[in-house]
């Protein structure tokens, strides 16, 4: 009997799996029991992920742990690979999950069948995708994650969800088949599925098979870019996310990051094979196009969830563009940004529903028309006395303002710091020849998209919080505002602890790239 710590790497998969199974075996009638199990499992997962974070934080950045399933020798066995990057991602999943389940505890967990099971199994899929070191196993966990997300997207039912859900399913199934094609081609050429082994065998691939290998990798890349919602294959995302129930949408905030994560892994692993050539330019220009489209969509949307959906695109585009640099400092700050933007987006998805309560549905349209035509009613003198905002609205307002500043990258919050570090890093990443025009364009895009984000959220915020309305003050429960405080608190903590956090990230990135070089 060995210590459970030896199996720490697989626990983020096994814990939610076990919880999911137990939840399946409990009848839907026992909603409270199911919820309690769900929450306990999520807390346990959080403990496990913090242990992982601590474990890989103590060593140097290149510390990895390979877990061979079935105890088979390495290229044969399916492996799980734990390192700093996967630990960060798993921890992010755990925190998100804790917030989402807390929010759902108010009422959403009763919104349909098997919510708790699907929730835990989604966590299993996410963690599996972050931990696996095997290309086909990655496909399996993608499927676990996607299957659970189909269910969660449809959770709560309603026409909009079913329509968006079916689009989502159709698109993602198509993307998954590309994934499968890509895996098959790569396996056919290299004869192996272990990612590290693939990278190691690349130099031995015979010349006449190289183009097949590249085609396979390209198909894989497209599959991941589709999941990461790069323009022009990411139109599914805003509609799907906007239609999902808030706790599901908030959890989905990390799903588009899975695509980014895998691309990062693969680009690092295959970096030695000179895959930088066309692949990296695609990432850069695709990322920039995604930022543009996300920004445009953000401005043109009127309801908050949809806006946030486009915010996901901007975030994805930013990350994709950052990946294209293949520079440790850029990657480190990009991962920092990934964490911040995921938490912010999740927070906004949750907030959007709270703000919607007790409001007339047509008020959003009014926001723009008021701006267009003004309402220059003469202000009565007596009105020039401030009105006190009820405490609920004040709390929501502060949360919204913080989220807006985080998403727009306005100082002094960590969103600003993240953007600054990315920009400083890309400007600094050029060697000798000076900073390329595309880098300046990217920097400009990031700044402009930040401004546009501010503009859009400003409009929403003023309309939501400042325009006196007949609507009632929304009823918000502590378990619903709690996760928002948790996410914002994490963002603030990452600002205060930016120096150690960045030291962690930089070691991580250097470890990643050192592996690929060595």
């Amino acid at each position: 009997m060995t210590a459970i710590v030896d199996h720490l790497v697989i626990l983020p998969i096994v814990v939610p799996m076990l919880a999911g199974v137990i939840l399946t075996l409990i009848n839907e009638r026992h909603a409270a029991t199911k919820l309690a199990i769900n929450i306990s499992a999520t807390l346990l997962l959080l403990v496990v992920s913090l242990l992982l974070l601590w474990k890989f934080g103590t060593g140097d950045g290149s510390l990895t742990e390979v877990y061979r399933l079935g105890n088979w020798p390495v290229p044969v066995a399916i492996t799980l690979v734990g390192d700093r990057l996967s630990a960060v991602m798993v921890a992010l999943v755990s925190f998100l999950a804790l917030g989402c389940i807390s929010y759902a505890a108010a009422r959403w967990h009763r919104g349909g069948s098997h919510f708790n099971t699907l929730f835990q199994l989604l966590l299993m899929g996410l963690n599996g995708a972050f931990l696996t070191g095997d290309l086909f196993n990655l496909f399996v966990f993608f499927e676990v994650m996607l299957a659970a997300s189909y269910g969660l997207l449809l959770h709560g039912s309603g026409n909009a969800r079913v329509r968006a859900g079916l689009h989502y399913i159709a698109f993602n199934l198509a993307a998954s088949s590309l994934f499968l094609l890509g895996v098959s081609l790569v396996y056919a050429v290299t004869g192996t599925l272990n990612m590290a082994d693939i990278a190691a065998r690349l130099p031995t691939v015979p010349a006449e098979s190289r183009s097949l290998l590249e085609a396979g990798l390209a198909l894989l890349g497209i599959a991941f870019l589709g999941k990461a919602a790069m323009w022009p294959i990411g139109f599914w995302l805003p509609t799907a996310y906007a239609a999902a129930s808030p706790p599901a949408a908030a959890l989905f905030a990390i799903m588009s990051k899975v695509g980014v994560y895998v691309l990062l892994r693969l680009s690092v692993l295959l970096g030695a094979y000179g895959a930088e050539g066309f692949g990296h330019e695609w990432l850069l220009y695709g990322g920039m196009a995604t930022i543009v489209f996300g920004t445009v969509g953000f401005l043109s949307s009127q309801d908050l969830p949809r806006m946030v959906g486009f915010g996901v695109l901007v975030s994805s585009g930013t990350l994709l563009a950052m990946l294209s640099y293949g520079d440790p400092a850029v990657t480190a700050s990009a991962v920092y940004y990934l964490v911040i933007s995921t938490l912010t987006i999740a927070c906004l998805f949750l907030l959007s529903e709270l703000l919607e309560r007790g409001r007339a549905p047509e008020a959003d349209i009014l926001a723009v028309t008021l701006e267009a035509f003004g309402d220059e009613q003469e202000v009565e003198r007596e009105q020039e006395v401030g009105i006190t905002i009820p405490a609920t609205m004040a709390t929501l307002g502060i949360s919204f303002a913080l989220c807006a500043m985080l998403l727009a990258g306005m100082p002094p919050l960590s969103g600003f710091l993240a953007k600054f570090m990315m920009m400083a890093a890309v400007i600094g990443s050029d060697t000798g020849a000076g900073v390329g025009a595309s880098t300046w364009v990217l920097v400009a895009l990031l700044i402009v998209s930040g401004f546009a984000t501010m503009l859009g959220l400003l409009r929403t915020g003023i309309n939501r919080f400042w325009v006196p309305s007949a609507g009632e003050v929304p009823l918000v429960r502590v378990v619903e505002i709690g996760p928002i405080a948790l996410f914002l608190g994490l963002c603030v903590a990452l600002l205060v602890l930016a120096a150690p956090a960045m030291a962690y990230m930089e070691n991580m990135a250097e470890g990643l790239y050192a592996l690929s070089a060595g």
């Binding site: 999911g20 919104g111 659970a148 039912s157 100082p411 400042w466 960045m502």
Partner: protein
């Protein structure tokens, strides 16, 4: 100064020692991360105080914000205490910066990104900090009396203090990025202050406009600072200030300059961004007084002043800054004359004075810079006092409209006197501070310039604008304080509380003292401030009141006299009470801005979203396939190596199967849109061809799996088809008549993509397999995995973790399907009984020997009896497949599907009710149990110290059967089996129960679905 060249490839080349070298002679504390020694150079005195000055207002703001809304006096007291502490600290620090020392307190934070937290103070920032702290204190005192008892004083003062902290942060920051951070913070807090009375639309609009414009400037500043930091190689302000030549000669100088100017101009309300400032007067008057005097707008000119040594001195700088300033100066002064609102007049006057300061900064002259700094201080004093006076009048008289006000001198002589003196300073009347700096301005503009345009325009605009300033000052004084008693007021105005007037008295006193004895009052402070910008070799300037007759004095006199004359001339026009200034009144800046914003951020954004994106599924899938095809084509277009010809011994039988299969596939695609049933059946044909191919090439496991999966999915889809809408009308079903361009495009894309994949597969399959893991699997399946069926050993042992994941997927899909369909209610048009049943019923009702429903109940009677009898056989067969799986074709998955088919047959034969009355199936528990078994089997290996899913096998002597191999993988396989049965049956039930529901619904009118949210709302 000589500057080390930037070595290539180094991120931020300046390391700490070099920075310290640049800073020699300054008082510095450098805090390094824990564990390293901290470097202290220079004098310590006061340096430690700097971060405190920045942080204190924020701490105070937080404390005040936490007070209850009614805690008016304690809030004011706390804010006042903070202000006093700040002002005292600033005053005390003067001794440290007076000799030109730069105080620095540096906290190492993110040195790898050049971002350290630096609190820094030199003469200029001392002057600004003192002004911000001091006037801020006066504002708190004033606001205590100004704000209504019903206003939430803590909230107001918290915003005000936080805003003050942000302003102090700008002037006391020693890092470019830190400046950007505080810069945006001032925008945010000024937004909150301007929108304090947010229930009025004026406040909302004003606040939003202020934030959009100054916020945009902040983003521009961010870009500018990034560029500047990149050029210099450091974000440290002192390093940047020492690198002026390097910056000006860099090719990126112009974009850098433009971005920073954009920031400064938006903040300081320079043309064409001037319009937000008058709108911002929707703020409570104390806020206006603060924003317009010492803060906010002064941040812009502060920025220009600080970076003057780095950015100024080029012709680009001269032309842009000077002429933007001049335009603002003139426009502001002109507009101010015609305002009817006191605060509006003062706001435009602020715009104009900032234009004056900007013009001075743009002239690339050291003397002009001195004048600019001097005027910044002077303007702050008289403008703050004027706004406060306007607020008192507003408070006491109930209106700010000059048309309604008149003769207030007799009611409030003290306030009137103060306001008159301050107005005189604003007009530039001698013996007041405004006169002195304006004289310096005139002196600078009067200097001869070789360019004729500049030579004429500078002094001309200066005189005209100053003349306007005299006019609007006169108008303010005359319109409000003189003339007959007011008639349109609803109350009798009187003097405010003495303490409310105190701030004005102090400021007016400063105006007078500076105006009369400048050398003794402002002189040394100004010198210190200017020295920190210009360095030790300052130009000579004199601050005395009388310089003899010169151009400047002449211009002053002309402006004064001209202003009086213009005022007299305009009397009649102004009496008409027209709101907008003549000639330019119809150009309303805010309105243009709003329109532009809507156009850009809404209309064009919508158009662009439509152009660049789509919400429809089909184009999205087309794009996905197109992009994927392109991505795969790019590397393969150069050739994919040798493609061997097909073997000549190709079996014609298999070829026939393939032809049939391909025909089926193409047929399915053609029919997919028009006839789902046909398409589905054809798809089944294609699947069958695949199965046969697997058999042909000796892959029995694959063939079995493929066959069974085909059967089950086809049946499930068939059951689902019942609930889809009817097929399209006959006129539309001929696919060949209705082919359009986009169908042709889709066909082409499908052909290319499909052909490409076929080609790739062919290339892969005709090539020698690489020496990979496959050999290991084949060689070790029996010895290590204990099974002769390699496929099964791979599934349950080598790659059991994949299977583990896949069965989870299957379980999830079943659960999700169930969850979806549980809430699903058939659409109205699929609720009636199907056409076939209706035909039968009609037939039966015509015949006497048939009861209605007989045909239906007797439908497939013989087969259904057979199906019932077959059930035990199928169960046994499934068990057989399961147990033999490890060595021969079979296994948990195949067995599970087989058993599921058995269940499906029962449903088909007996109907849902009949079956469920006899068979109690709880598929959700089957799913859970199956997964649990797999999980427990996997985790059991932990007990023996092995990783998850490690298997073991050995031979066991079983009494009857003898020695049989038992692998732990069998348990896992049983888990798979149970799960597959459960998942398939759950999906079956989910679909089958639709008919039960719709049958119930036949009686009711078809209602719409009732999703959770709608129901809850109801």
């Amino acid at each position: 100064m000589a500057f080390p060249a930037r070595p290539p490839g180094q991120r931020l080349p300046l390391k700490l020692p070099e920075v310290t070298a640049i800073l020699q002679g300054s008082a510095t504390i450098v805090w390094l991360p824990v564990g390293q020694t901290s470097t202290v150079c220079g004098t310590m005195s006061g340096v430690a105080l700097l971060p405190f000055i920045i942080l204190l207002p924020f701490i105070g703001a937080l404390a005040i914000w936490l007070l209850p809304a009614r805690a008016r006096s304690s809030a004011s007291l706390l804010a006042g205490a903070v202000a006093v502490a700040l002002t005292a600290s600033c005053l005390w620090l003067y001794g440290s910066v007076a000799d030109g020392t730069v105080l620095r307190n540096e906290l190492t934070w993110l040195p790898q990104f050049g971002l350290n937290l630096v609190a820094r103070m030199d003469g200029l920032s001392w002057l600004f900090a003192t002004m911000i702290a001091g006037i801020g204190g006066l504002i708190v005192l004033y606001a205590h009396y100004y704000m209504s008892p019903k206003d939430s004083m803590p909230r107001f003062l918290a915003f005000l203090l936080a805003f003050k902290g942000a302003m102090l942060g700008i002037v006391l920051s020693g890092n470019l990025i830190q400046i950007v951070a505080f810069w945006e913070l001032t925008s945010v807090f000024s937004f909150l202050l301007i929108g304090y009375w947010h229930h009025t639309s004026a406040a909302r609009d004003g606040a939003r406009m202020a934030l959009v414009i100054t916020g945009a400037g902040g983003f521009a500043l961010f870009g500018g600072m990034l560029l500047l930091g990149h050029i210099v190689g450091s974000y440290d302000l002192d390093v940047v200030l020492a690198a002026g030549d390097k910056v000006r000669s860099d090719p990126l100088y112009t974009p850098t300059l433009l971005l920073i100017l954009l920031a400064a101009f938006t903040k300081s309300a320079q043309f064409p961004f001037q319009f937000w400032l008058p709108r911002a007067m929707a703020a409570p008057t104390p806020v206006s007084a603060y924003l317009h005097s010492a803060t906010m707008v002064k941040a812009g000119v502060f920025l220009l002043t600080v970076f003057w040594p780095v950015l100024a001195g080029t012709s680009t700088w001269f032309w842009i800054v000077t002429y933007v300033g001049l335009a603002t100066l003139l426009l502001g002064a002109y507009s101010a004359i015609f305002q009817q609102d006191m605060k509006g007049l003062l706001a435009y006057s602020t715009v104009s004075h900032l234009g004056l300061i900007t013009t001075l900064l743009g002239m690339n002259s050291q003397l002009a810079l001195v004048a600019a700094v001097f005027h910044i201080v002077n303007h702050a004093t008289f403008k703050a006092s004027l706004f406060m006076a306007a607020g008192i009048i507003d408070h006491e008289a109930g209106t700010r409209d000059i048309r309604k006000l008149s003769g207030l001198y007799r009611y409030m002589p003290a306030t009137a006197t103060l306001a008159i003196v301050a107005s005189a300073a604003m007009a530039g009347v001698p013996l007041l501070n405004g006169f002195l700096s304006k004289e310096m301005f005139f002196g600078e503009t009067a200097l001869r310039n070789p360019i004729p345009f500049v030579d004429v325009s500078l002094p001309a605009v200066a005189i005209v604008a100053s003349l306007f300033a005299v006019t609007y000052s006169l108008r303010f004084v005359h319109g409000v304080f003189f003339g007959p008693p007011p008639t349109e007021l609803d109350r009798v105005p009187h003097e405010p509380p003495a303490l409310m007037r105190r701030p004005i008295e102090i400021l007016v006193l400063i105006c007078l003292l500076v105006g009369i004895i400048p050398g003794l009052t402002i002189g040394p402070f100004l010198a210190t401030a200017v020295k920190s910008v210009l360095g030790p070799d300052m130009p000579y300037y004199s601050l005395s009141v009388w310089h003899g007759f010169n151009w400047a004095l002449a211009m002053s006199l002309v402006a004064l006299a001209g202003g009086v004359i213009l005022f007299l001339l305009l009397q009649k026009y102004l009496a008409r009470g027209i709101e907008a200034p003549p000639f330019i009144g119809h150009i309303v800046g805010p309105r243009i801005f709003e329109r532009l914003l809507i156009l850009l951020s809404v209309r064009w954004a919508k158009a662009a979203e439509r152009l660049l994106g789509t919400r429809r599924l089909q184009p999205q899938l087309v794009l996905l396939v197109a992009v994927a095809t392109l991505a795969a084509a790019i590397p393969t277009l150069g050739g994919i190596g040798l493609l061997p010809l097909p073997p000549t011994t190709f079996d014609p039988g298999l070829a026939l199967v393939w032809v049939v299969g391909m025909t089926c596939a193409v047929g399915a695609a053609v029919q997919a849109k028009y006839h789902r049933l046909v398409a589905l059946m054809l798809l089944g044909g294609a699947g069958l061809a695949t199965s046969i191919t697997f058999v042909w090439y000796s892959a029995p496991d694959l063939a079995l799996t493929q066959l069974l999966v085909e059967v089950v999915t086809t049946i499930l889809i068939l059951l689902g088809l019942r609930w889809l809408p009817q097929r399209l009308e006959t006129s539309e079903i001929d696919p060949f008549r209705r082919f359009s361009l986009h169908r042709l495009r889709d066909l082409a894309l499908a052909t290319i993509a499909g052909g490409g994949i076929a080609l790739l597969s062919y290339a892969v399959m005709t090539r020698d397999a690489p020496d990979g893991i496959a050999r290991f699997l084949l060689e070790n399946a029996y010895t290590e995995g204990g099974g002769r069926n390699v496929v099964n050993v791979i599934l349950v042992d080598f790659r059991a973790f994949d299977t583990f994941g896949e069965i989870t997927v299957l379980g999830i899909v079943a659960l999700a399907t169930y969850a979806l369909l549980r809430r699903f209610r058939p659409a109205a048009d699929s609720i009636p009984r199907p056409e076939q049943q209706r035909v039968q019923s009609a037939f039966e009702s015509q015949r006497d020997d048939h009861k209605e429903g007989t045909i239906l109940s007797e439908f497939l009677y013989v087969p259904s009896v057979l199906m019932r009898w077959l059930f035990p056989v199928i169960v046994t067969f499934a068990a057989f497949l399961l147990l033999r799986g490890h060595d021969l074709p079979g296994g948990g998955f195949i067995a599970g599907i087989t058993l599921a088919i058995g269940f499906i047959l029962q449903y088909l034969a007996g109907g849902t009710r009949w079956t469920e009355e006899r068979l109690r199936i709880l598929p959700v528990y089957w799913i859970g149990t199956g997964l649990l078994l797999a999980l427990v089997t996997g985790a059991a290996s932990w007990l023996f110290g092995y990783p998850f899913l490690t298997t073991s096998f050995q031979y066991v002597d079983v009494p009857v059967l003898g020695r049989v191999p038992v692998a732990s993988a069998l348990l896992f396989d049983i888990g798979v089996f149970i799960l597959v049965v459960g998942a398939t049956v759950l999906m079956l039930i989910a679909i089958a129960h639709q008919s039960l529901r719709s049958a119930k619904r036949d009686a009711q009118p078809p209602g719409k679905t009732a999703p959770m949210i709608e129901r809850e709302k109801a």
